[in-house]
Symmetry: C3
Subunit: 374 residues, 3 copies
């Protein structure tokens, strides 16, 4: 309890330099890439929570994720070669099976038991390749967040990605406090919906994240029609480590009346989808994956392309302000931020991450404590 | 006294890595920019003694200098927007009055007293915008060095600036020992005056700096005429933190006879002015501001342009040797330099800076000691 | 003896970050440059074992190597000027004789005894300029490895150089385990000789290095003829700090029969020469000098150019894998490599370097111990 109290007292103690050890949640599914980025026969080098990975596909298409370091003399396996289901290091020729075991050392008949590289669990869901960075025994497919596949016939989506030179938590903060739309994005995303900074959302705690919901009234339908206004219901789940699944639904004016922060019950006139994932690559680098679109019937390709262009412009606005913010933070990590009423989302989510990190750090002590308590 | 003795025993203990805390004089006016660099409606990001500033102008033209960090989530204010006399952070929209107080937090009616950013005193004098980096209560306009404005009708001047990847004190050293003109600038500034390394100047201690004076004989009039020689009187004040105000006066041959190092009494045939300011941006970056020219009657624009070209070529020579020197110093900060008879100026000025730094560091103890002594 | 045991127990404890102090052999001849790189009147800036040097030639052509730091205010001497046999610093004009003594301080008649810069012994041999980085009294010309000069009429050679962003010992490792030819160079050097990974060489300990020898059968004559196969005798001396002197001799098929790992006695049909030197510039930068060729009668210029192109392509392959390996090593220096049967050469040579480093570090204690033992 004292430890917990300490964490709550310092919700912003994460603004320091290179605190990766403290802040990485290991037991989580991280988006490594769009599934289509990993082609047969190719090896992708990707870093997640400061751990370099070599990704490739077996002949049946299953993705394999190895640590990107040959156990012999530490050449990166991502500079190796896929040979059927195996991966060969192209410095001195050691070959590894998909489970990470070394199965060939050229010129040496005996292969020691220790000749192996770490293999990480993988799964493909939605259109993302997810990697579990923690204890392989705990890798639970049920924990993969439910994103829509790019080729889902019910939707029309377009995807992209962008790298940030910043702590991924600053991007999480950004996505958990959409009041910034009115300022950082006043000419892009905020254009059709200027009230973001004036409406306090409802925030619901989920098992591994938060649900954030609000009504905005008198909205024009964004990138599509400007000749009418609607009531707009915005709801997203934000899940560990930084998965953002947003649904924006437009209704006839007056629908929100009397609903306060409760969700609508009828089907919307128009339903927009935004699927995003923030992946920490290192303590100061993150990759931001995003898809945007709507129900297939609601949008055509030309409208989608226009919407996507606005979205990408906005993400570059985020990148500029967040990278600048990171520089300021790193210049003096001892400074304390000023909390405002809009920081509830970021603060609660950082606490969820901190609790998961703490739980992973002390499984033995906790079990012992639980045993003693009985 | 033992402390003072220690400083004198180690006049060169400043060659270490990143000693900014020890070596920054805070209670001083620093040149932030040429006044014309800061335009209405714009925000300039500038760093002085490793502190980032956001500079803008109020509607009446008065310059405002804030720390470049919003108190909310540390976005840089220099990426904000000027709104009348105020500055708005363009991440989440907090607005600040010219005194640094936050006067608007979007979506939050109550503004806590702690919502404020640091404001630095500013003044415009000559053609420079000066910022006082220390205790605002101690900011004394009388301490601003008296430089000539670029639009002073009595003079014809041209200005520029150059950044050095070096400790600003190496540039100060350079300006305080002009013997280097004979070698570093043998083909530029040293061309018309090869005796710099042979004439020891007179050095006079000022309240916050040094005055350096010398006669040089048989000089050609630099960039103007080479068909006659003159006696040349060179005098400059070098003031904290690195303000260099040089007057070079040409006289008929023989004027210097019997004057030793005493100044001339008659009006010169020709009077050249060089106004320069060295501003430390970080421990290893400095900005060098300079204007060069002469009395309006002494020079025309074509001659000034020729003179300015030589000056800029020479400053690039300084930049090359000083940046190279910095690299060598940083490679092994424990090495001791060899003092020569020309180092009196640099050594004395470093001592002045060290004394000011020390005085700022221990005001309370000194006052207590003074009280006890009575 | 316990110390020695420790070294043998941890042959790979050199994979850490910036261990330059521990791992530099000082008492050794290092290749500073090709002799033709240092032209009369020029000053070359070169770094060896993290010590910057200024190299120039006296009027009689003799090379002089100074530390690249004026003793006055630490300007680099490599930005100075050669004046007859001397070198003048072009910041404030101090002049140094070839023995390192300062012989002129402008404006100061008295030159203190301490006014001097460090001079390093040099020698030119083969076509390389060698510098002795340790105790000058111990500089023994007999320790210079015997390389072939580029203008030796008996040979036709072509030379080049390549910089690696890596610990030089990783390049040494690479040259001491040619099994990598089959993988890293499968399309270049390994093309004509695919058995490198299958043939364990004979390794002979030399005074300051290793001799590595092997027969390879059924070899095509590399870049020259592919219509016949030969027995190929490969032998090289690898000497401190990283000098690689390879001779590759082609014999009629069957010559190797019964010889096991013993050298041939007859004259070869074709004799190829490869002369290489690895020079550590800093802990993470090395310069690789190389010449390749054959007996003059064995090769014409067109064939040599073709051979050289393959060699350079292969060295770029080495550079890519070694620089990538260095990044992986530095990411986690605590990881232990997996030894294989091919690591005998690298492991033994690292032990030789470690012993030399240790011997240099403790001359006094060792002498005392020897005295006590009597």
């Amino acid at each position: 309890m004292p430890r917990r109290a300490r964490l709550e007292a310092k919700p912003q103690d994460t603004n320091g330099r290179r605190q990766e050890e403290a802040m990485w949640v290991r037991n989580a599914w991280y988006v490594a890439c769009w599934s289509h980025e990993l082609e047969a026969g190719q090896i992708l080098a990707r870093s997640i929570i400061d751990e370099p990975l070599a990704l490739y596909r077996k002949q049946d298409g299953t993705a394999v994720a190895f640590e990107d370091r040959c156990c012999h003399r530490f050449a990166p396996l991502s500079k190796g070669r896929v040979e059927q289901d195996d991966l060969r290091c192209m410095y001195h020729g050691l070959k590894f099976a998909p489970d990470g075991r070394c199965i060939e050392i050229p010129g040496q008949p005996l292969i020691p038991h220790s000749a192996a590289v770490r293999r990480y669990p993988t799964i493909e869901s939605g259109s993302w390749l997810w990697v579990w960075m923690g204890d392989a025994a705990a890798a639970d497919p049920a924990l993969v967040p439910p994103s829509i596949a790019l080729d889902d016939p019910g939707y029309r989506l377009r995807c992209g990605r962008l790298d940030f030179a910043a702590d991924y938590q600053l991007i999480d903060d950004n996505l958990l406090d959409l009041s910034h739309l009115s300022y950082a994005h006043e000419k892009t995303l905020g254009l059709g919906a200027p009230q973001w900074a004036d409406e306090r959302p409802r925030i619901i705690r989920l098992e591994r994240g938060l649900r954030v919901q609000r009504w905005l009234r008198n909205q024009v339908r964004g990138y599509l029609r400007r000749d009418a206004t609607f009531d707009m219901w915005s709801t997203y789940d934000f899940l560990v480590p930084g998965i953002f699944l947003l649904r924006t639904a437009w209704y006839p004016p007056g629908t929100a009346d009397g609903l306060q922060l409760k969700p609508p019950t009828a089907a919307p006139l128009f339903l927009r989808c935004d699927e995003q994932a923030v992946t920490p690559m290192t303590a100061r680098a993150a990759r931001y994956f995003y898809a945007t679109g709507a129900r297939a019937a609601d949008i055509d390709q030309r409208q989608l392309d226009r919407m996507f262009a606005v979205v990408e412009a906005a993400f570059h606005e985020d990148k500029a302000i967040i990278e600048a913010q990171q520089v300021v933070i790193d210049r003096d990590p001892t400074r304390r931020m000023l909390p405002t009423s809009f920081d509830a989302g970021p603060t609660q989510f950082r606490r969820i991450l901190a609790e998961l990190v703490e739980r992973e750090a002390q499984p033995a002590q906790r079990m012992a404590a639980a045993a003693q308590a009985q």
